[in-house]
Symmetry: C2
Subunit: 330 residues, 2 copies
């Protein structure tokens, strides 16, 4: 993928900044100010060998929401865009969808009827887009989608719409001994297709929602995992601390999110002993990206914004704090 | 824990063997022969930079069953011993258990009645032993149990009954760029208490069965995760490839097990492209440890032994292939 080379370049730059050239800026796409300082101060505190707040490397766990925190999530979650495209691509094999809701509405671009199908309708579309194939086949389908699909506004592949300041932050944390994880409501198998190339985060450090799979012997006599139309775990809201407990088994000391779905992860993070960091991305830049918070259908930020303000968590004002948003602007 | 120092010593020795002193034996507790050679040959093949079988470090995923593969599992799974002890310790707070099965049978050591309560009874005991407390409290309870409980035959703390040859193997693989995971039917939170000190495997690389947890605000106003009496995922048999898919997201190239519960994990491992290693521990040493296979109630090895023989997987004959079994023999 395009971003792989870019990320490597960024990480090399960050790596150099974090070690050989201590004076150089490890977060060059962040504007100077209290937000940037809150990050670098925290990292300095927990890594100062002789300081009272020193945290051993094994405990330096950092968790990041994905949609709206590491990459763009507007006008719809990118995985929803994938699901819609996938159902359209599968439609020729499903003539019955022409007369069956919610598929009929989707294929006719009838957004009113699609909305009317509600959560149940949405789950049917997600199931149709994600189930009925093996895990290996699914990976190929998603890879193909990333190669061909384009974002409606930015006209670029979706996996280029990652936030450069957050790529720098991930690299900066890793250069300082942190292990970085994604903890997202997105599907774990969907995210793993791009997380390593886009963020340098390996599959086993991606926590997400998951569907059930069935182990079976395939037609070629080889075992395979068939994806079933059954949601098994929703890694969002209250589910995020549960997902962290199940997958990571260690409470993060550093976490970043951008919506109410991240509130419990941030609460869980700061409730542990010792130094803790909680951060919120506030989307305030309609010109370069999007501006939304309390009223948004996608990535609603309301209760978590109040909690962040009351608890003095770091709130990133995208317009004020980010010099550059997307790597392609460089 | 006792084993921490021991493991560090072993790993240092192994680390030295793998790098500075290439001639020294990285697996000194393994007797020379085809079994040991099958391991070292495989590692040499996948790490030879210019070889046709070279596997990049990111793909060097190794998964290990725990009970009977990394530590002893007789006369009962150690976690079952924990559950029984825990229920007995909780009995004073539950006077109703004196007259209620399966608790009555357990408290009276009435094994016939306990067996008669069947799987349902066992699940009730497991739920009583594992649920109703927070994840933080559970960790303390398990830590305390390891400090005080003793194995009925070896009269030693359970976490000393790890297999030295397998500790060497874990260290040898890691020294060769592998990432080592546990994939076990055991409870993930139970295993994480000792996996890092006993095996050098961090919490996020432990895959296991799990119970549901509930995020809630505790009495002190801080969030907590309450363990519920509800099993969420059984990481055994068909569940192991599913667990690997969900937690790790990458197919192992190297896997070790010892029972029929590991068969699908081994099949899944060898079905991928390129070089693959599947190993089985056959418990053949009643003198130093235990001898059991097809008829055993704990760690039954029947179908997986046939599959291993038919497919020419590596079968470790514990009596023949292991010079030393437990670290305390050194």
């Amino acid at each position: 993928m395009f971003t792989r080379r870019l990320v490597i370049a960024v990480l090399l730059a960050v790596g150099a900044g974090g070690s050989a050239l201590a004076q150089s800026d490890p977060l060059p796409s962040w504007n100077d100010g209290p937000v940037k300082k809150s990050i670098t101060d925290f990292v300095a505190r927990v890594t100062a060998q002789d300081g009272v707040d020193f945290v051993p490397p094994a405990e330096r766990t950092a968790t990041f929401d994905n949609d709206g925190t590491l990459w763009c999530e507007q006008p719809v979650y990118f995985q929803a865009a994938f699901a819609l495209d996938r159902v359209k691509a599968l439609a020729p094999q499903h003539p019955e969808w022409k007369t069956r809701q919610p598929f009929k509405a989707l294929l006719e671009n009838d957004m009113a009827a699609l909305s009317a199908s509600g959560e149940k309708g949405l789950l049917e579309i997600v199931a149709a887009a994600h189930a009925g194939i093996t895990t290996d086949e699914f990976r190929k389908v998603v890879t193909g989608w990333f190669a061909n699909a384009r974002h409606p506004r930015f006209r670029r592949p979706y996996d280029q719409l990652v936030y450069l300041p957050m790529l720098e932050l991930l690299g900066y944390l890793r250069a300082n001994g942190f292990k970085t994880f994604i903890v997202s409501g997105g599907g774990v198998e969907f995210m793993r297709v791009f997380a390593e190339s886009a963020y340098g985060i390996p599959p086993e450090q991606v926590v997400g929602s998951s569907g059930a799979v069935r182990f079976q012997m395939g037609a070629n006599g080889k075992p395979e995992l068939l994806k079933l139309p059954k949601i098994e775990f929703i890694d969002d809201g209250l589910g995020k601390p549960a997902g962290i407990s199940r997958f990571i088994g260690r409470r993060p000391i550093f976490a970043f999110g951008n919506s109410d779905g991240d509130l419990q992860m941030l609460q869980w993070t700061v409730a542990g002993p010792g130094p803790r960091f909680a951060g919120i991305i506030h989307h305030t830049d309609a010109g370069r990206e999007y501006a939304y918070d309390r009223q948004s259908k996608v990535g609603k930020l309301d209760k978590a914004l109040d909690a962040a303000t009351a608890s003095k968590w770091t709130i990133v004002d995208m317009k004020r704090d980010w010099k550059i948003i997307f790597p392609t602007e460089k």
